[in-house]
Symmetry: none
Amino acid sequence: MDNLNLLKSLAIKNEKKIVFLIIDGLGGATEPSSSKTELDLSQHPNLDKIAKESLCGLAIPVDYGITPGSGPGHLALFGYDPVKYLIGRGVLEVLGLGMKMTPNDLAFRGNFATISNGVVIDRRAGRIPTEETKRLIQKIQQSIKEIDGVEVLLMPGKEHRFAGVFRNPKLKEEISENDPHKEGNKPHKILPLNNDEDTIFTASIVEKFINKVSEILKDEPKANYILLRGFSKYPNVPKMQEIFKLNPVAIAVYPMYKGLAQLVGMEIIEGCETISDEIEKLKELFNKPYDFYYIHIKDADKLGEDGNFEGKIKKIEEIDKIIPEILSLQPDVLVITGDHSTPAVLKGHSWHPVPVAIWSKNPPTPKNNVPRFTEEEFSKGILGTLYSNKILPLAMAYSGKLDKYGA
Amino acid sequence: MDNLNLLKSLAIKNEKKIVFLIIDGLGGATEPSSSKTELDLSQHPNLDKIAKESLCGLAIPVDYGITPGSGPGHLALFGYDPVKYLIGRGVLEVLGLGMKMTPNDLAFRGNFATISNGVVIDRRAGRIPTEETKRLIQKIQQSIKEIDGVEVLLMPGKEHRFAGVFRNPKLKEEISENDPHKEGNKPHKILPLNNDEDTIFTASIVEKFINKVSEILKDEPKANYILLRGFSKYPNVPKMQEIFKLNPVAIAVYPMYKGLAQLVGMEIIEGCETISDEIEKLKELFNKPYDFYYIHIKDADKLGEDGNFEGKIKKIEEIDKIIPEILSLQPDVLVITGDHSTPAVLKGHSWHPVPVAIWSKNPPTPKNNVPRFTEEEFSKGILGTLYSNKILPLAMAYSGKLDKYGA
């Protein structure tokens, strides 16, 4: 019996409400001149108060030394093993552009490129502007709606990027990519990577699609070819309703996080543009019969990615102000953590463990004597270091949602 | 190679003696008015002295958030994966009533019930007194000793409860139960849950048994029917002798713990009624060629289950007094922990990690600077948070019972 089946066999439905406040990129790293992290240097009295009253520790999203993407980081928070359940790059791109996927979809991401005499001379078509990409995608979509019974759905991205899905239950993801990765090379053919009939069919459809698009784009000055990558099927992740008997809802601004939440069965709330919008929605929804509220706060991650150390400090101070508003709703369990760390000094996601606080109304959690919400103080918390997918079972235990195992 | 096979390949027999003092329900939780746990508030100078000289940490019996029954809690302490090796409810009930099981046994637990016009009108037969149940079990056992070559052995429990085994090598546990779970319903038929010939045979034997018992009980005013549940085979757990090359012995008062110890191959010492009896037995046995002594202390768990916070504090103070007596025997390694936590504030087993101290004569363990034997102090111990089935390998390592792995 694997861990998810164990949890499934023990999950109990009740009315207690769990809130997961996910501050994307929350954890940081020490800036060399001060030897302090973003959390060390920011003033966040409300987070500090939570720390004193919570189980505190450091969470490892995937494993020691592994830097998680947003997909694995979130799957772990939602209680899944992020190595067992992998979300393909194509799927993540498609979700990030706000497309709704079905289980029949093969997702991919694409670039416009420049080809000349059969050789790729620019893999990004001179980074054509986003508006150009919108025009070209519309042009392609108008002439290609399906190929041999396979529906084709496209969505423009930023600059030369786009994404899309092929929709048909027969499609398989075991096909090669056409991107030659180096300019001056011919594009590769899309090949089936096994002898399965459906895989061979899939490769032929994608090859036909590329050829049709080349024909449509042949007179474009720069964007006269496409390179496709990251072919991935809709992942077969069991729903949170099925495993944890939860009725979950997601409040997020960005499409990718709504898409990730939808994959695990959450209801998606649309229409939020700011953190205030998100808190207002949470208040509205708190009387509804949901028992798991996922709130995603993006901004700390973006500033970390930009290497904006000061900006991330200020953003944490801003986020700190929403904590009393969430507590005023009297959740039974409140978890505050991130899907991964994004230290400004590294300008990107990192493998650093993420501070996690689990606050519970009744029963209360043991006392930590952790005085501040920082990486260093949390390393001394009673929770120690744990894998992120253990957070949800703890939140369920504190809200009476897990039965005893064995007699 | 799984973890148990790794340990098996490395286990070394020597004369060093390991003592596992298992204080059932040892861990607690904070009582809201004081924000202190049972261990925080009790005076236990001997446990505190052990803490200062031991490897200290917090042990998770099954997994984060999972509340263990006594079966999984003990299997983990004995070094086994408690999710891989599950002990069925029937087996635990039978062991708890002091019956000895063989590998040919299918165990179950039962209720006397009241049936009228084919419908169960009282699933507990008016909670008839224990003495009545003894009389009825004797009456049934006198007329039914075997059915089609399957031996039938019964044992009365408290009030309307009883347990028993069907004994025959062909028996399987994949059969349904007859308890309709709601009064006013007909009892279910016992059905085979697969097409295996032996499973079909098992279901027919159990069905025949129920019909024969109904006939015997038909003139009883209340207890005129039986409901059977928790069918489970003797679990196939490899013995501690085979895996760890230990010669283990169990000292316990209650039958269930002796039964659990017997499952993993321990010799069982009978005749203890009190903690003092247990310590006297330990002294007697310390010159015998055992190298693993399991001592089970029940009382802290019972007071926790009763919600008796003060009582559990006092009981810990009482248990504290036996520590010098155990140390005077000069064990090579002494482990003090519990099979799970039983916080008085929760009136039951819980998922809270259990304090664990590993004391070693030679080599001594690293110093912790842990001043007191409490949950909070142990969370800062050098051992950190670990799974309970890692305690036995550590005890073996400190007593020179594990060889180097690889060259």
